[in-house]
């Protein structure tokens, strides 16, 4: 194999003239994590809302919730990113368009919104499954005690549902971190983009991608470990531990 390995490349100065290649990768890691955390917050908020709506007895609301999930699940994430980044500014009123185009860090905000809404459809599925997994009697008992429907959800159904769906939620958090790499197509300088830039400038392909891979694995292990602790603390006694399952990527 006529490839010249050079692991010392990480301590060389990158083309920005200030940071070493290692530092640029770490900065990328920061953007990856920030994007993932912000997107997951949106995903959890909207996903919970839509998931809950889909379990209510109002058929019209259920249908809207279903449509929301189908819409965001059946278009590739990359295409959704393009729609938010390239198409949205062109189809909104003029003043809003100017504001959007002058937004600093536009690719970051776009990535957060696109990834957040994309993941929210998956979280909605999990929340819905969690609520539906509870015995029907719990909802009926709540209502029979005189709680309103929102109160039944807030105090009876959701506290149980969230504890049950913790393992799949962990998988979705990991998926959010991984999927943030797609944002490199709209110019977000996250970890994969930094590795790619490093490869382009230094020609050390395999060193750059090895470093990125190792960082992703480290993030994965750290998040999995932290979530295991949380899962164990809040697991519902008497329920079989539903193991984290890969929901896709």
């Amino acid at each position: 194999m006529n490839y010249h390995w050079n692991w010392a490349i990480f301590w060389e100065i990158s083309p920005d003239g200030v940071h070493t290649y290692l530092q640029t990768l770490l900065m990328g890691t920061g953007w990856t994590l920030l994007t993932a955390v912000c997107a997951f917050t949106i995903a959890l908020t909207f996903g919970s809302l839509i998931g809950v709506i889909r379990t209510t007895p109002f058929s019209f609301a259920v249908r809207i919730g279903d449509a929301y999930v189908e819409l965001f699940r059946n278009i590739p994430l990359l295409v959704q990113m393009f729609l938010w980044y390239f198409v949205l500014p062109e189809v909104v009123p003029r003043t809003f368009e100017i504001w959007l185009k002058q937004l600093p860090n536009a690719s970051f905000y776009t990535a957060v919104v696109a990834l957040g809404l994309y993941m929210s459809a998956r979280i909605a599925e999990q929340v819905r499954a969690g609520v539906l997994s509870l015995p029907r009697g719990q909802r009926q008992a709540g209502l029979a005690l005189g709680l309103t429907l929102p109160q039944t959800y807030l105090y009876v159904l959701l506290p149980m549902a969230y504890r049950i769906i913790m393992p799949p939620l962990t998988s979705e958090l990991l998926n959010t971190i991984k999927n943030s790499a797609v944002a490199l197509t709209i110019g977000l300088m996250e970890l994969t983009a930094r590795a790619r830039a490093m490869q382009e400038f230094s020609f050390q392909v395999f060193e750059a991608f090895t470093a990125a891979t190792v960082i992703y694995i480290a993030i994965n292990i750290a998040v999995t470990f932290a979530m295991r602790l949380v899962e164990r603390r809040i697991a519902v006694p008497g329920y079989l531990g539903t193991k984290a399952r890969p929901a896709g990527h």
Binding site: P76, V87, K178, N220
Partner: protein, 230 residues
């Protein structure tokens, strides 16, 4: 909003989009699914074999593929495949690999990890008594697997495998990052050439949406069909 919407650019580029782009996307989806299921089944058998020499590498491979972004893996293989080709064919220099072959290898190897987990669940859903009965009849391990366990495991998992195929179909759009002309790549090229980003990206989204929705609807029907027979 639609006042200066140019439908004509879509119609003009339809042959290019579908003949060049969609053919690539669908062919890649079909072949990668086939390869992924075969390789994934082998990986699942390795993981369930009980020999550390087989389980550990298979588990490590699957976990590696599942913990890194697909985009990063596409870059990895894009640069790695020529060297793999060189290694396999003992040629003195890195092999020239076409875009399609490179993508096919990438998708097969990556999706195999996900198909492995599906097949593993499928194999584990077969009751132990069936294996015991087959062994009592004097069947060897390959016979037990190919005549008793795998046909049933495969059948139980068909809806999940097909759902994963829809995910794979959507994932093929990611070959955009190595500038390959799949359906999205074709749409993007027309969009940039004619300055018609809005029309082309909306149209691409619509096509992906319709195909994925129809496919998942079909999988839902199939799931119900299978459920009745069982």
């Amino acid at each position: 909003m639609f006042s200066n919407f140019d439908f004509d650019v879509i119609i003009r580029s339809l042959p290019y989009l579908f003949y060049q782009g969609m053919t690539f996307t669908l062919l890649l989806t079909a072949l990668a699914t086939l390869g992924g299921i075969i390789l994934g089944t082998l990986l699942a058998l390795m993981r369930l074999s009980g020999f550390a020499l087989l389980t550990v590498p298979a588990a490590a491979y699957v976990n590696l593929m599942r913990s890194v972004p697909f985009v990063l893996m596409i870059f990895w293989f894009y640069f790695l495949v020529p060297y793999i080709g060189q290694w396999v064919t003992f040629s003195p220099r890195p092999m020239q690999v076409g875009a399609f072959a490179s993508c096919l290898v990438t998708f097969t190897l990556f999706e195999a990890a996900f198909f492995c987990e599906i097949m593993r669940a499928g194999i584990q859903s077969i009751s132990r008594g069936q294996v015991a009965a087959a062994q009592a009849l004097g069947m060897t391990y390959p016979t037990v697997m190919s005549y008793v366990v795998l046909p049933q495991a495969f059948r139980n998992m068909v809806p999940v495998l097909l759902t994963q195929t829809i995910v794979l179909f959507q994932d093929t759009s990611l070959v955009y990052v190595i500038s390959v002309t799949d359906f999205l790549g074709a749409a993007s090229k027309v969009a940039q050439r004619d300055g018609r980003l809005v029309e082309m990206y909306l149209f691409a989204a619509l096509v992906y949406f319709v195909i994925s929705l129809a496919a998942s609807g079909a999988v839902g029907l199939l799931r119900r069909h299978i459920a009745i027979i069982r």
